[in-house]
Symmetry: C2
Subunit: 230 residues, 2 copies
């Protein structure tokens, strides 16, 4: 997160276990950076959507996309008629970024306001997958968003598979950045007569709403009741 | 959102009032597209963070950033020492995308699963601002995230302003995409014995947590009690 507090001096660098180059190295506040697989995977698994960036005609485009993770690969999908999918399938460089906002960090000074968050920036190239991997990729995406749902519903038929592109993005390198905890104020501001702290936030799931065309006798599915969504 | 349901046929195109070119025209499911200022502004105002994409060394990079909106301009900020800010301030093309997830759309078939969401994709170039506009930009960002907070806290001093870069991104073109409502299933799937509907979701704010170093007598600020966060 680029925020005013980002200007605070960096004091430490987290140990690295993953691939790492200048492209994915976190430069600002490196004490908040992590490059290990478990940290990166946990953040990817906890986000509903990713923001996928690529270059088209020399210009950046960022599109929100659903995804699912299988090891160090991410699956994406879309219509075969989609320009986006065609652009991505061409082996171009892709940057997929996910961000979970965990709270507002309210300091005594405007400068030290910040946000608690978890983010991952992942780089790789997408390739179209064929054969059995297509349905596997769709299942991975579905299970990411709605665990257990895939086996409750009608699976894709040949026509649906035909009009759906499935891409696999093998992560070449990635970094995570995490901020937690209190505001960090200047010593001399602590006596100011203003409250400081954190207002936490998170995604909250509401009560399932029946589809207007739902026929009688279709109770809310087990996977929906379990609500194990990201 | 690129999702399986994106392959559903498009049936209508929303009237356009804003700038529009091939770059920002929504191709997939154009009935979900909008280009008018009020729709785009409302979505930008409702999101906490943006995903900012740009091209560095020919490759795409997407970074989550705080922002604030003033008319058709967005303010960004960060450390003067930040490579990100330097890259952005160089007049490069920028794509800022925001996405609000409103619910999972659970259909009777895997293929028609989707998501309810509101997103904006905005294009422009960022420029560094100077003089009084710097503090104005910081206030706009602060008020976007925590309305009323700016006047409760100590404002930025000269040293803090010196180490902070403020950028203005004038939106050249933008498009919004919105999905709402029920799953759209195939007629022949309606009799399947499986529940279908929407599980709504939204960002929820928790109880403010005092900073560990909070001195006695500093009650939670009025702006925090009002909780008019995006």
């Amino acid at each position: 997160m680029s925020s005013v507090e980002e200007t605070a001096p960096a004091t430490a660098v987290t140990a690295s276990t993953g691939p790492r180059s200048a492209r994915s190295r976190v430069r600002r506040v490196p004490k908040r950076a992590a490059y290990d697989g478990p940290t990166i995977h946990a953040i990817l698994d906890a986000s509903l959507i990713g923001h996928v960036g690529f270059v088209a005609a020399g210009r950046p485009i960022v599109i929100p996309m659903l995804y699912g993770r299988d090891g160090d690969s991410l699956y994406l999908h879309g219509s075969v008629a989609s320009r986006l999918l065609r652009d991505l399938a061409g082996g171009v460089d892709v940057c997929l970024t996910v961000t979970l906002v965990d709270g507002l960090v309210l300091a005594r000074s405007a400068f030290h306001h910040s946000m608690n968050y978890r983010s991952v920036v992942a780089f790789g190239r997408a390739q179209k997958v064929e054969g059995d991997e297509r349905e596997h990729g769709l299942r991975v995406i579905s299970e990411h968003l709605a665990p257990g749902r895939w086996d409750e519903v009608r699976g894709p038929n040949d026509q649906e598979l035909k009009v759906t592109s499935v891409l696999r993005l093998d992560i070449e390198e990635a970094s995570a950045k995490v901020r937690t905890g209190d505001p960090v104020d200047d010593e001399e501001d602590l006596t100011l007569r203003v409250w400081a702290g954190v207002v936490p936030c998170s995604l909250a799931w509401g009560t399932p709403i029946d589809s207007a065309d739902l026929l009688p006798g279709r109770d809310v599915s087990p996977s929906v009741l379990a609500r194990r969504y990201p």
